[in-house]
């Protein structure tokens, strides 16, 4: 007897927890360290959030009714172990009316759910693009993100900057998604659902963030060894911050004669085969553009903070941070390492 009660309690407990925990996630406002889908801060994500509450209510209702019936049956019709009555229970083979009822009701629920869902699909996917929307081209690489702003002439990596969109001054960002190698997926849960980056299959997604700050996400389609460390950082800036950032990114790389030795290492060792630093001989495109490396707060696609020590260690032995990543250890001497690190540290 008590075992059955235990199960009933467990089930009820699970159901209650489910509904208690969900709203708790939603109270958070603005960017969160935990990238919860229940703390939306941008238009597609917030639309999806409200749709999800509707679906949760319906499925929750179904769960309570059917789960309740099951619990009732388990408690009410269990064999009491009463040996006095050896007879089998009445045999019932079916009932057309009842079966018809529990076919028709689910059909009605499906109709409601489908119409609501279809409306949302068209609203998000076929939303007309405003002429002043910001365009960004996202290229997925094993295991980092390339961001190009074609109208602004900016190329950067791993940390996307987009302007804030307000109700008064709506400014969505449209992302064109490409892949240079294998499938990836762009996912920043607080901003929008994910969209895949597939080679030979360009995709588009859009965001319209409503509060400033740093939003975290990561690649959501398995893409190889370091899929887990293909992290995404999206900075939503005020219009002033964004203008300042754009202005800085549009400058060519800083030229500091004090670190000429480091620049020479960069241009004579193999670094330049994969990386671009605008204004130098380095025009490689296999790795991230380093023209304004110091404007980014992380390296290795978000794997570690962008500090001098980390940068030196990364150049010396990339596998120590990101085992299996495609950047080779360049076997530089300690002096070359110091010089090239010092050079990169000037690329504000």
């Amino acid at each position: 007897m008590d075992r059955e009660w235990l199960r009933t309690i467990l089930r009820t407990g699970t159901a209650i927890l489910f509904f208690l925990l969900l709203p708790a996630f939603a109270f958070a406002d603005g960017p969160q360290p935990v990238p919860s889908i229940f703390a939306p801060a941008s238009t597609p994500a917030s639309d999806i959030y409200s749709l999800s509450l509707f679906v949760l209510a319906i499925t929750g209702g179904i769960f309570v009714v059917v789960g309740g019936l099951l619990a009732y049956v388990i408690v009410r019709y269990r064999d009491k172990g009463d040996d006095s009555d050896k007879r089998e229970p009445a045999q019932i083979y079916g009932s057309t009316q009842i079966e018809l009822a529990w076919t028709v009701i689910p059909i009605l629920i499906v109709v409601v759910l489908f119409l609501t869902t279809a409306r949302m699909i068209f609203a998000i996917q076929d939303a007309p693009k405003p002429p002043d929307a910001l365009d960004v081209t996202v290229v997925g690489h094993q295991f980092w993100w390339e961001f190009r702003y074609p109208k602004l002439g900016i190329v950067t990596a791993n940390e996307l900057h987009v302007p804030l969109s307000t109700n008064k001054d709506p400014l969505p960002t449209y992302l064109k998604l490409y892949s240079a190698d294998v499938d990836h997926s762009f996912w920043v849960p607080q901003l929008a659902g994910k969209t895949d980056l597939i080679p030979n299959h360009p995709n588009i997604t859009w965001i319209e963030p409503k509060s400033t700050g740093l939003y975290l996400g990561q690649c959501a389609q398995f893409c190889g060894v370091e899929h887990a460390e293909m992290l995404l950082r999206v900075y939503v800036d005020t219009p002033e911050q964004f203008a300042a950032w754009v202005k800085n990114q549009q400058q060519p790389a800083v030229e500091d004669p004090q670190v000429a030795a480091g620049r020479q290492v960069f241009e004579t060792e193999s670094c330049m085969n994969c990386h671009t630093i605008r204004g130098t001989a380095a025009t490689g495109r296999f790795g991230p553009d380093l023209t304004h490396l110091m404007s980014r707060s992380t390296i290795a696609s978000g794997a570690v903070p962008n500090s001098e020590a980390n940068l030196r260690q990364w150049i010396k032995d990339p596998d120590s941070f990101k085992p299996g990543c495609l950047m080779p250890a360049m076997q530089l001497t300690n002096q070359q390492l110091d010089e090239v690190t010092a050079y990169l540290e000037t690329l504000k």
Binding site: E4, T14, F25, P33, V34, P35, S36, I37, P44, D47, I48, L51, V55, T59, V66, L70, V73, I74, Y77, D79, P89, Q91, I92, Y93, G94, E99, W102, P106, I107, V110, F114, T117, A118, I121, F122, Q125, L177, D181, V182, D183, W187, P189, G193, K194, T195, D196, P199, N200, H201, I204, L216, Q218, A220, Q221, F222, G224, V225, H227, A228, G324
Partner: protein
Amino acid sequence: MADRTFPIEGTLDLTPAHVHEHTWLEVLHEWVTTVDHKKLGIMYVLYGFFFLLVGGAEALAIRVQLAEPNNHFLSPEVYNRFFTMHGTTMVFLVGMTIIFGFANYLVPLMIGARDMAFPRLNAFSFWMTAFGGLMLYYSFLGGSGLYGVGNAPDVGWFAYAPLTARAFSPGNATDYWALALIVTGVGTVGTAINVIATALSMRCKGMTLMRMPLFVWLSVVTSGLTLVTITPLTAAQIMLVIDRYLGGHFFDTQAGGSAVIWMHFFWIFGHPEVYVLVLPAFAIANEIIPVFSRKAIFGYPAMVAASVGIAFVSLGVWAHHMFTIGMTSVSNAFFVLSTMLVGIPTGIKIFNWVATMWGGKIRFATPMLFLTAFVFQFLLAGLTGIMLAVAPWDWQLHNSYFVIAHFHYVLVGAILFAIFGGLYYWFPKATGRMLNETLGKWNFWLFFIGFHVTFDTMHFVGMLGMPRSIYTYEADRGWGHLNLIVSIGAFIQGISVLIFTTNLLWSAFRGKVAGNDPWDAWTLEWAAASPPPVYNFPTEPSVSSRRPLWDLKHPEDPDWKYE
């Protein structure tokens, strides 16, 4: 009208095989060369169970790695191999083999036949599947090829192109994966043909299609679905091998191939595959729930129609795995609708099980405990399935731990629970001995608790933004504590499976003697001796209703009056 007594007496030698003295070599020879559907069925189940332990061990290693952020228990390479092998093993070497083991063992017995329609094809199919599994695992030794890179496959069980191209997956590991699935696929197709032929042409006197036990009906539907779905998978694997070895460009995006076409091929196999696995779980439920509720199944014709309906609809839903790949809005809406339609026949099934229990006298022996939990968990799995069918929400939930939780609710919460229930239920038939009930209760309750600790929690991890297939995660994401809980639950399940293994070994030799009909059940397999002799029935049984043994036990109120 059945007028004879059970077990059916006759001239067959009914002495159990183990009474005769055999050397171990003779026993081995007998099992290796056998074409008896019962021996093959047992071998299928044992083979699947062995790989359940292997795949389970891989899962535990994965859970240790994820128990805390930035853990270094497994290297990224080994982690990726383990989750690929875990998925491939559990679907192809555990799920498929155990369900076909059940079908092999039970279908001839339930329809009063002496063996499958094609006994030698049956043996061939088993050994093909078995060699396919060995080939997959041989990759741990032989997969590195000449390059010395990688060994076991590490591309995910879905193996999305172009990650499987030679440019991104050098060495031979991916080839072992593709070839192993082609080989097991041949075996699977062989068995599927066999099951259909057996059910259609080997039924005993009086067993019309609408008197077949639901288990047999669902085995036929499963087999039909298998025939349709294994084909595109095999085609895709062959194309992949052509790409890798003969310079084809089907999926080679750098030469204009299509990554998306692989997804279509894979999921038009992959989604019906879910139903190939879950329909046999329904089949087990359809046998066990009535017997332990002491009532006939509620709405037999509706159950048949719902199963056939699920099979048909399931062939039109595959692209709900692809809502994030950038299909047009109309395609997305279409697959939302088709996916939600599956909920209708599935709902009918759940309602009919509850209605079967309604008004019954439910005996909660271990098989029924597992099947009751099955109904509950399958209900929840269906509801999270509806959430995932809502395409915009799927854009958030897809490839997150929410999806992992959802499909483990189906694969473990529904299928594995039903398989455990089925093993407790039919073990006495196959061995003549009962599985121990005390260990069974421990097995059930630990597994039930462990399952919910693990997979309930996993839903929340996914909604907090954790994607699947990642070998580690950052400490500041707030996923650490929940992941620790998930891992603890996994170990509780591991302990429970060890208890089951102990029970299996102990009861096979020391268990209580079962007799022919320990559960007071109604279908024909309980009319044969336990274990049934070679060729099952000395004379052909004859039935006049869906529950021949009910008719025999209740001559005052037989089923055939009402059907």
